[in-house]
């Protein structure tokens, strides 16, 4: 798809330098699509969480950015993919405070609260795909919805 914010793009996630590129790319796309400063910051923060999980737990992977338009409303979809060990218990992984490493366990649950749509697919041995979407000008989800 081609829009003012550019076409779909895929970035590698292999190092903490790549995490910086991911953040800057999402910031630029979100700004070009018309997201306000707070919403840009939420998207970039969610992207940073998911990209770091891709790097740390997934052993590296990619982020794909897809600009969207629905009924005149621009949106941005981010897809994080890795072929790592996968997640056996998704519900547990999404719980605030659960970590299998040395994090705070806030990344997945937090990222879900920061976007409008959140989908995760994972199974042991098959890697992990997380897809998030946000729309310009749409109010944030209420807490009860996430």
């Amino acid at each position: 798809m081609d829009t003012a914010a550019g076409a779909q793009a895929r970035l590698p996630i292999r190092s903490d330098m790549d995490l910086m590129w991911v953040r800057q790319h999402v910031r630029q796309m979100a700004a070009a699509l018309g997201f306000g400063l707070v919403d840009q910051t939420k998207l970039v923060t969610a992207a940073s969480e998911l990209a770091r999980n891709t790097l740390v737990y997934g052993g590296g992977g990619t982020m794909e950015t897809t600009p969207l338009a629905e009924g005149g409303t621009p949106g941005l979809r981010l897809t994080f993919r890795d072929e790592g060990p996968g997640i056996a218990d998704l519900e547990q992984a999404l719980q605030d405070g659960f970590t299998s490493g040395e994090g705070l366990g806030m990344g997945l649950g937090g990222a879900r609260r920061l976007v409008h749509e959140f989908a995760i697919e994972s199974s042991p041995g098959a890697g992990t795909t997380v897809r998030v979407t946000s729309w310009v000008g749409r109010p944030p989800l209420r807490r009860e919805e996430v």
Binding site: D16, M17, L19, M20, W21, R23, Q24, H25, R27, Q28, L37, V38, Q40, T41, K42, V44, T45, S48, E49, R52, D96, G103, L104, M106, G107, G109, G110, R113, L114, P140
Partner: protein
């Protein structure tokens, strides 16, 4: 530098964050985007600097930071925790409203971190006297 500059440009503080000393207080200014490894290095540098200097406080200026995720949030909380063990307090200065709002949604509360609106206010909070002030003995306000 005459090699091609990659796009996008990394923030200015990607490599190393200097720790300045102002009387009893250590002052750190974070600018732009940080490598994870830079943030971890800062955490180690600060622990050492507090232990060596016996500083009463640490002021971290985050006004130039446009993203704080759970990684950087954890590092900041751990800096405050290790400072407390070394009898120093930590104050964050100048957090951007968009960052603060995002941190709340993310669910990060940054325990142990106080915030102040300006470096001067932070210095006053930590030293118990108006800043700038004459250098003098260690003097801390009530907690």
């Amino acid at each position: 530098m005459n090699e091609a500059v990659p796009w996008p440009l990394p923030g200015p503080a990607t490599g190393h964050v200097p720790v300045l000393r102002l009387g009893d207080v250590l002052l750190v200014t974070l600018q732009g985007d940080l490598y994870d490894s830079t943030a971890e290095q800062l955490q180690r540098d600060l622990a050492e600097a507090i232990a060596r200097s016996g500083a009463a406080g640490v002021v971290i200026d985050v006004s130039g930071v446009d993203v704080v995720d759970s990684f950087l949030g954890r590092i900041l909380a751990e800096i405050a925790g290790q400072a407390r063990l070394l009898a120093a307090r930590t104050v964050l200065v100048g957090m951007r409203p968009a960052v603060a709002i995002t941190l709340v949604e993310l669910g990060l509360t940054l325990p142990g971190l106080r915030t102040a609106l300006s470096t001067e206010a932070a210095m006053e909070l930590l030293t118990g006297r108006a800043w700038p002030a004459r250098s003098g003995g260690r003097h801390r306000g009530s907690p």
